[in-house]
């Protein structure tokens, strides 16, 4: 879903900036990489396989798959957790973000729903006893940014936190592992 642009505060920080394009669309731009995420309604729709003409991998992964509790790794502007809160009405939405500045910004901006829990941590070290129907790894832009070894490590670390019938989803690597 697209978050109302007027509710997202502009910000210039150490690690990233948030600002409006000429058309009024908000983007977050990461200072080191230059990578961006736009406040575009298709971002979460594509990731969650919610469009008929979407890449078949994304669409088919969610075909017949239901979920209610979700851990999203990587926050950005919070487009995916906001969709899970507003549209899917998920009962538990945890977001793990490595950068405290992004967490502080989102809290300060106030554009995310209050049922979204923001947690600071590195997914490669993070441990929890919580279990989820779906864990989404949304930390990379390009497939080469996560090696198969990295993915294998995450899979072995996170499988205990996935409910039976749940899934570990790394969209950029075309991974959707059902437990």
């Amino acid at each position: 879903m697209k978050i109302l642009d007027s509710t997202i505060q502009d910000y210039t920080g150490t690690n990233f900036s948030v600002y409006k394009r000429e058309e009024g669309e908000t983007i977050i731009k990461y200072n080191t990489s230059g990578d961006i995420i736009e406040n575009n309604e298709m971002y979460s729709k594509v990731m969650l396989g919610k469009c008929e003409t979407c890449n078949p991998f994304f669409k088919n992964s969610f075909n017949g798959f239901s979920y209610d509790t979700v851990l999203i790794v990587g926050l950005g502007l919070g487009l995916v957790p906001q969709e899970l809160s507003e549209v899917n009405k998920c009962s538990k939405i945890d977001v793990l973000e490595i950068d405290q500045e992004i967490i502080d910004y989102n809290i300060s901006s106030g554009h995310l729903n209050s049922d979204i829990n923001l947690i600071q941590g590195d997914i490669y070290n993070y441990t929890t006893t919580e279990t989820y129907d779906l864990i989404i790894i949304d930390t990379i832009w390009y497939e080469h940014e996560m090696t198969d070894e990295d993915y294998g490590l995450l899979e072995s670390r996170l499988l205990p936190n996935i409910n039976t019938g749940g899934a570990l989803y790394v969209p950029i690597k075309n991974k959707f592992l059902v437990k």
């Binding site: 394009r21 230059g34 990578d35 961006i36 995420i37 736009e38 575009n40 298709m42 971002y43 594509v46 990731m47 469009c51 003409t53 979407c54 890449n55 078949p56 994304f58 832009w141 390009y142 497939e143 969209p171 950029i172």
Partner: protein
């Protein structure tokens, strides 16, 4: 210096031996996000740019420019591109890095 007729022998040594033509293509007027998602996002792909590749669309290692001549490189970032001007989903998403318009990655939106 303009060439006068009849040709002088030196004129033949003065021609531009490196001259190459650039191919025109179109992009969304702005950088875009994650290539894997961009293939499903409809945009106005109507801003013309040029490249030195041998195919109609540029690929890895090709250099992209904002003009048909000169060294006006397309800036770093991801771009949704197509061979013609239209509004819709792109043919591919290119990544430019390094600051001199060179494509470091190409994500094809054509599903085999």
């Amino acid at each position: 210096m303009p060439i006068a007729y009849p040709y002088k022998f030196s004129d033949w040594y003065g021609y531009d031996k490196d001259c190459t033509t650039r191919t025109s293509a179109f992009r969304y007027n702005g950088t875009v996000g994650k290539p894997a998602f961009e293939c499903d996002i409809s945009r106005a792909i109507t801003t013309q740019f040029w490249h030195n590749g041998s195919l109609s669309l540029p690929g890895n290692g090709d250099t992209c420019y904002t003009s048909a001549a000169g060294n006006n490189y397309l800036g770093n970032g991801n771009y949704s591109i197509a061979g013609t001007s239209y509004t819709g989903t792109p043919f591919s998403v290119i990544t430019i890095s390094g600051g001199s318009g060179v494509i470091s990655a190409t994500y094809s939106c054509i599903i085999p």
